[in-house]
């Protein structure tokens, strides 16, 4: 198989894997939930922790990646860690906390609420994956943004689907869910990072297999994580 065909095949497989997430039992359970205010509050807090864990993961990936890829990741992290100040956009953690206000959450609520136990375990697993050889590691982080890209996911990305549920159940319009709304847009852009890297660094079968291995493992952790979130929501009134 030529490198170009190999890349296209790999990309198609990655896109299918992301779409299959939504057919998994944990995703179905999570997306079948009905949000109450208490559920929305806890979900919002846990998602802020998820975003923080992504920052851990991308940091480790930046550490092990080649110089040119480090630069791409550094730029990617500007949106997430710092925000686009010139466009008046805040970082994504601040955004998550601000979004919490529409569900009646204060900034202190984020500080005093612990991470979900199952979430903690998944976060450790994602960090471990981020410390693996860099092609596996970058795939492990980038695939989560592909799974959140409205361009790649049939029926809408995870952020879009959750936002629609919150609008349906709590009457909070998407434009007021500033964190979800931002990710619906940003993750379309960020989802292209992996292919950009693969074009230069995945020129043989072994490299493409490494990317698929990292992606599959991350999506497995993602399913477990979403299952824990569904358990948490079920336990709340």
């Amino acid at each position: 198989m030529s490198a170009a065909n190999g890349l296209e095949t790999m990309w198609s497989e990655l896109v299918e894997l992301c779409n299959e997430q939504f057919n998994s039992s944990p995703f179905k359970r999570l997306l079948a939930m009905k949000f109450t205010q208490a559920r929305a509050q806890q979900y919002s807090i846990q998602m802020a922790y998820y975003v923080q864990n992504r920052r851990d993961g991308w940091g480790y990936v930046q550490g092990s990646a080649p110089f040119e890829v480090k630069k791409l990741i550094w730029q990617h992290e500007e949106d997430e860690l710092i925000g686009q100040k010139a466009q008046g956009k805040v970082d994504h953690i601040t955004l998550a906390v601000k979004e919490g206000e529409v569900f009646g959450l204060s900034a202190e609520a984020f500080e005093r609420t612990a991470r979900l136990e199952g979430g903690e375990v998944c976060f450790s697993a994602w960090i471990r994956l981020a410390q693996r050889p860099w092609l596996e590691a970058i795939a492990g982080s980038a695939i989560l943004e592909m799974r959140n890209s409205g361009e790649l996911i049939r029926g809408g990305s995870l952020s879009l689907r959750i936002a629609a549920m919150l609008e349906r159940d709590l009457g909070v319009p998407m434009k007021k869910q500033i964190n979800n709304a931002e990710h619906v847009v940003m993750d379309v852009e960020h989802a292209n990072l992996l292919m950009q890297v693969a074009r230069k660094y995945a020129s043989n079968e072994a490299e493409r297999r490494a990317i698929l291995r990292g992606a599959r493992e991350s999506l497995m952790i993602d399913r477990v994580y979403r299952g824990h979130l569904a358990d948490m929501l079920e336990a709340l009134a």
């Binding site: 940091g59 480790y60 930046q62 550490g63 110089f67 480090k70 550094w74 860690l81 981020a130 410390q131």
Partner: protein
Amino acid sequence: MNLLEELLKTLDKMVNDQFESVEFKNFLAVPLTLERGRFYVIQNALYTSNRRDCWGYVQGGSPLDVKRVIWEHESDELINDPRAGMDHYALTVKQGEVIGLKPEDFERAQVPAMVQACFHAWHHIAMHNHWLSAYTASHMLERRNNGKIVKGGGMSYRVGKKFENELGINLKRMISLDVHVVADTDHSENISEMFERYVKTEEDCDLVLKGAQESMAIDRAYRGAVGYYMAQIN
């Protein structure tokens, strides 16, 4: 003296003591020739790359506000240092032109065995330690380059002066060394501010000192190794 003041004083003593070590003395005593200078500049580019690896790992393991400080720090290094108008790797490659090096010389560069071992050791600290130890380990290499702290000048300044005195190349023309004389002073001061926020207990101090001691030991081994390899070049 409070806990933090005492800790910072200890760190300052440690970076000054580096220059009294046999490894640093041997390294700084190797007479420069053009070939040795070329070897050093190429090795310095590889060292800079290793720093980028480690700061990335440290960013991964740190609390959010520390991540932001490291991200800003890496802006100069990875993207563009306004003092130089380019990133620090490009700056090192550009500096090489002064002594007849081409970009391909950097691309082809091999990491010698003893240097490789040091790079792995720094990776290990950055990735597998408590974040305060990891953070300090990387910070200490900039503190050791801070002329406001190190009596007689930091490493970049001293090596720059060797190029000036022994090869007749003015420090201003050794643009990477020259920028690092200032940049690492700024960086080490910005990064040092984080200690004020996070070092509150004896246990925190121990974590900082662990990272500092281990990194300084590797730094001595690294300088000893580079000096050894330079001395092999006629």
